[in-house]
Symmetry: C2
Amino acid sequence: MNIDLIEAAARRFAGVGRRTPLLASPDLDRIAGRPVLVKAECLQHTGSFKFRGGWAALTALPAAARAKGVIAYSSGNHAQGVALAAARHGAPAVIVMPSDAPSVKIDNTRALGAEVVLYDRAAEDREAIGKAIAEARGLTLIRPYDEPEVIAGQGTCGLEIAEDAATEGITAATVLTPCGGGGLTSGVALALAARAPGMQVRPVEPEGFDDTRRSLAAGRIERNAGAGGSICDAIVTPAPGTLTFPIMARLCGPGIAVSDDEALRAMALAFARLRIVLEPGGAVALAAALFHGAEIDAPALIAVASGGNVDPAVFRLALDRHGGG
Amino acid sequence: MNIDLIEAAARRFAGVGRRTPLLASPDLDRIAGRPVLVKAECLQHTGSFKFRGGWAALTALPAAARAKGVIAYSSGNHAQGVALAAARHGAPAVIVMPSDAPSVKIDNTRALGAEVVLYDRAAEDREAIGKAIAEARGLTLIRPYDEPEVIAGQGTCGLEIAEDAATEGITAATVLTPCGGGGLTSGVALALAARAPGMQVRPVEPEGFDDTRRSLAAGRIERNAGAGGSICDAIVTPAPGTLTFPIMARLCGPGIAVSDDEALRAMALAFARLRIVLEPGGAVALAAALFHGAEIDAPALIAVASGGNVDPAVFRLALDRHGGG
């Protein structure tokens, strides 16, 4: 993994993906006590940064393998990213999703033309299911994070942050990333280490699913106790990846854990102050920027708002509890 | 009014305002039966396009007049646009707002440092109130639409549409604009007539407050019967302006009127498919694109999503009724 792979992914992404804006609001700056920039990946195609990695992986495949088709397992955002990338290439896509994934994500994945295979998150192993179908049908497995091209694709988000923050006059900052398996976090960290050395990435997770925070503190991969139970479905993974963890250990600052309620409050503030729709897992980095400032020593904060695929009932919960900010 | 004034406003806006993205979703294309691009002005500073006109007006004032301060009357979006433009110049701003404006708009205007004067929309005349305070305090009145520099500022939105749609390969389209007094509509129409002659603007209004639609049909300015009663507070004005109407009569196609429920449904679809927050008045153009296609003969549609300053209760209503799309 190096910056060349990320820049190659960025060249393949140009004109296909959306260069998402860095948003800001004086009210958020006031709450955080310093400038806060929000990288609005909820505005990316399919509503999350995952299209970056999906596109990078599909475009890196040999044409023959791509034509046979791809398979992915995902709680929903990687699913849509891979499904759209496959559809744009006319390639078949099978997506293995937990049966309790938000229905908006299951519906959107099907609407993108993918075949969805549901499994029981508590009883079954998605990696084993994915592998079995891949072998039976000759599909290429696109892993959600432990895959160099996927990490490179997510890293394109970091290249944009480096360039666009510099335009706003910000070159020294802590960059907060929602962290599941670490694909986004490690990709952005690699990009910034090369292109914005004054910025350091810190992964953000939900309380109780802070495997990366604990792994970084321990210096070795630690696993979560449970497999579900957070509203931050997008970033609940068993453990950081074997490719992503060493990158994060080398480049990232300590992890931060936020509560589900802090994620909901960040969603309400993003609604009222930035006019964007975030899902809970996509709002944890903003929550850390706004409510965990005491843990962060930096003149400016950049929060990646990684996704906005949220069921209306969960969004209403955020508005009900936190009244639009 | 000509294109030079708009291009001068665009030069003064560069590096200050946000170049808002043109968003799209395959689901919206499917509903409309053709490509739909959404100009997300809800992502503009202050949450609506009105900062464009406010900035253009403030920067066009002689320094001495600007230092004395400005006054504006507004249901809330022009208020915030002028308040932010004044604050960035260190100039005092007084904003005359109806007492029934959404509280999010009143709060935001105050948070931007403006002095807010409330009036009764049914019983009092905001123009008379504005004039009286302006004279008493030596403030310059910044009209919400019947003001050349404000029209020029809103026209910068049209310049961006022309450029960014061409990048997407779209040069022939109907451009739908939410329409109150006609500042946005006439500014965008002037910009497109000069820079994208294959595009025609059509103003969109709420049913029952379709003064511009009726005026365009009659060839003379017609007024609305009532002063309130639509949830589309941002675009309920008594009549098109004396400056804006002749521009619209010369350049625009027929007006379109949408129901409040169609506006709410467009908000729910923008939430689920574009991950942006729209207010009802900011969603009427998207509603026309999605639900009034039979009235529109064009290969592609561009809807200006003009604002996203919505009270949480109204947003919940959209989600409750239309379930996120």
